[in-house]
């Protein structure tokens, strides 16, 4: 067995264990030298990223991968924890590691003047490990543990600027919400365990009876995970946390909400897959409704904001609505059989997960750059920055076009899929979605006007362009936005379509484990 085979064979565990190992060692490196610690953290993240890409390539070409902890082979009953990685998991894992890597590069200059950076980098790596664990695991209790790792580290990082009361308050709100959510998840896990004596997702999905207790567990799980994913009406923590955290952390928080959304999809499509296919029309319409409400509320609230980061946060709420709308439309049109139109909508929703991460992420990084240069995020006091911050302005315009879904950016590619399929379902829904996008464009053009254009303000005469590492981080995301916008087919055909197929194929997910364990 050569080295590459060894890495491929163990890639699911390396993807989680290497950032964990890095997090445990970061304080030791931090004691030696600050620069060494930064280089160490970035190296760990580059290794993790490449391993996740290897894993994703392997999963997409060879099908579902499993990894059993502590034993070579699997026997029934499944007592050990196992990772089960399908195309959807690897798709989410790619988004998470890319966001984390960009955030680390961005942090180098952005966080330089702060104290407590040893812990900052440790928590950042832990957050990444937590997200990856949530996305790769095939065990319900393990999912809960990683959910808690992610929430604790994010809450601590949201409150990073402890000298600001609002940051601490946002961190507290976030930890209370996520703890209650996590306890509901744990209660549902206990309900599954009490009925089926199993913790493995595939085994639960195999033996689930849809008793009344299962329905209670479903409601609790959906409530808890929707709360963490920021779906209206459970979004109240999200604008606070997004706008008060350091911008690099906000970028990963976008990934954290999406990991929760992934958990929601995993619960609905895999564990309750059989029930979903039976009543997919009603569940799909519920999702469509929530999607539309989320879009409208996010966009309308964004109009009234005068703080740049808060404005982007509400726009992010709106973007979450588009994903839900796409997935809900997919469910409605998919019954009774998997049809091409339903799959298109589902692909649109899933592709939009990636695009939302990039678009909103770029906007937050630009807001962070403005804050770094001027120490200001209030739109009333900003103005004329385009003269001194040329590159940042360009990145803002790219982000603006992408968020509001205009060609040739990636936001257009996924929103077009969503509009198309929603129009077939009901034209009014598509019109609402399109109008909201136009409204978003108007809002961001106003921001462009008030922050970057207009007369030069004398107190911003000394403002300089942000350091190169921050520009580089923004350039990575902007580059991906443009590439995915011009050639959306590369991504859609190679990553998104397998993910959509894997999501609806819950029989394949279950039979993989059953055949491995030698059962029926």
């Amino acid at each position: 067995m050569n080295a590459l085979d060894f890495i491929i064979a163990n890639s699911p565990i390396f993807a989680v264990a290497i950032p964990l190992l890095g997090a445990f060692l970061t304080p030791i490196f931090g004691r030696i030298n600050d620069k060494l610690r930064n280089i160490f953290a970035i190296t760990i993240m580059i290794i993790t990223t490449s391993i996740v890409f290897i894993l994703a390539y392997d999963v997409i070409t060879n099908g579902i991968r499993t990894y059993i902890f502590g034993a070579q082979d699997l026997t029934l009953p499944v007592v050990r924890i196992l990772f089960e990685v399908d195309a959807m998991s690897s798709f989410m894992a790619i988004i998470s590691v890319v966001l984390a890597l960009v955030a680390l590069i961005y942090s180098w200059a952005f966080m330089k003047e702060n104290t407590g950076l040893d812990k900052y980098y440790t928590l950042l790596l832990l957050m990444t490990a937590g997200m990856l664990g949530m996305e790769l695991t095939g065990d319900m209790f393990n999912f809960f543990v990683f959910l808690e790792i992610t929430s604790i580290s994010s809450a601590a990082l949201v409150a990073f600027w402890i000298n600001k009361g609002k940051s601490v308050e946002a961190g507290f709100k976030y930890i209370v919400i996520s703890t209650i959510g996590a306890l509901f998840v744990l209660f549902s896990v206990a309900l599954f365990y009490g009925q089926y004596n199993a913790l493995n997702m595939a085994i639960i999905a195999h033996s689930i009876q849809f008793s009344f207790l299962d329905k209670i567990a479903l409601v609790l799980l959906i409530g808890a995970l929707a709360m963490k994913a920021g779906i209206v009406p459970l979004h109240m923590w999200l604008p606070d946390a997004y706008s008060k955290a350091p911008s690099s952390i906000t970028l990963i928080l976008v990934g954290v909400t999406q990991a929760s959304l992934y958990g929601l999809l995993r619960v609905c499509f895999t564990i309750y897959g059989k029930m979903i296919t039976l009543s997919s029309i009603s569940i799909g319409w519920i999702l469509v409704l929530f999607g539309i409400v989320t879009i409208l509320l996010g966009v309308i609230m964004a109009i009234a904001q005068s703080d740049l980061k808060r404005l982007i946060a509400f726009a992010a709420v709106g973007e979450i609505g588009y994903m839900i709308l796409g997935i809900g439309t997919g469910l409605v049109t998919m019954s009774p059989d998997i049809s091409a139109a339903g799959l298109t909508a589902l692909k649109g929703g899933i592709f939009h997960i990636m695009n939302d991460a990039l678009d909103v992420g770029l906007m937050f990084l630009v807001a962070g750059a403005i804050f770094y240069a001027t120490r200001e995020t209030s739109l009333d006091r900003l103005g004329g920055l385009a003269r001194n911050m040329k590159y940042t302005t360009v990145f803002f315009i790219i982000g603006l076009l992408a968020v509001s879904g205009l060609p040739p950016m990636n936001g257009f590619a996924s929103k077009l899929l969503i509009y198309e399929s929603t129009y077939q379902l009901n034209p009014i829904l598509a019109i609402i979605a399109i109008l909201s996008s136009i409204l978003l464009l108007a809002i961001f053009v106003k921001v462009l006007h008030s922050a970057f254009l207009g007369p030069a303000l004398p107190r911003f005469n000394e403002v300089k362009e942000v350091p190169k590492s921050m520009l580089f981080a923004m350039a990575i995301i902007a580059g991906m936005i443009i590439i995915f916008g011009i050639f959306p087919d590369i991504v859609v055909n190679n990553i998104v379509e397998p993910a959509a197929n894997a999501l609806v194929d819950n029989a394949g997910y279950i039979s993989k484990i059953m055949s491995l364990a030698g059962g029926a």
Binding site: K119, S153, N197
Partner: protein, 90 residues
Amino acid sequence: MDKRSIAAVLSFSVVAVFFIFTVLLMHPFGAPDSTAMDDDIISNAQTETGANNAVTSVVFDYRGFDTLGEATVLFTAVAGVVMLFRRLKK
């Protein structure tokens, strides 16, 4: 009562009803429905892990990865608390 507290009362009572239903529908205390996984652990723990304490064999062997996660949670909390009480000036 303003809108907020009405929403709070509503959501609280809905969730409370869920938990009450759970209690009414649970299997009788002391008689679990199925115990296949745990029986497997009880009978194999000594030979497979060499530990006389079946709970420890679950914690560190069968579900060892959870314990790594749990240790990480504690590590995260310590890092978070130390970070929150750091000195602000260098």
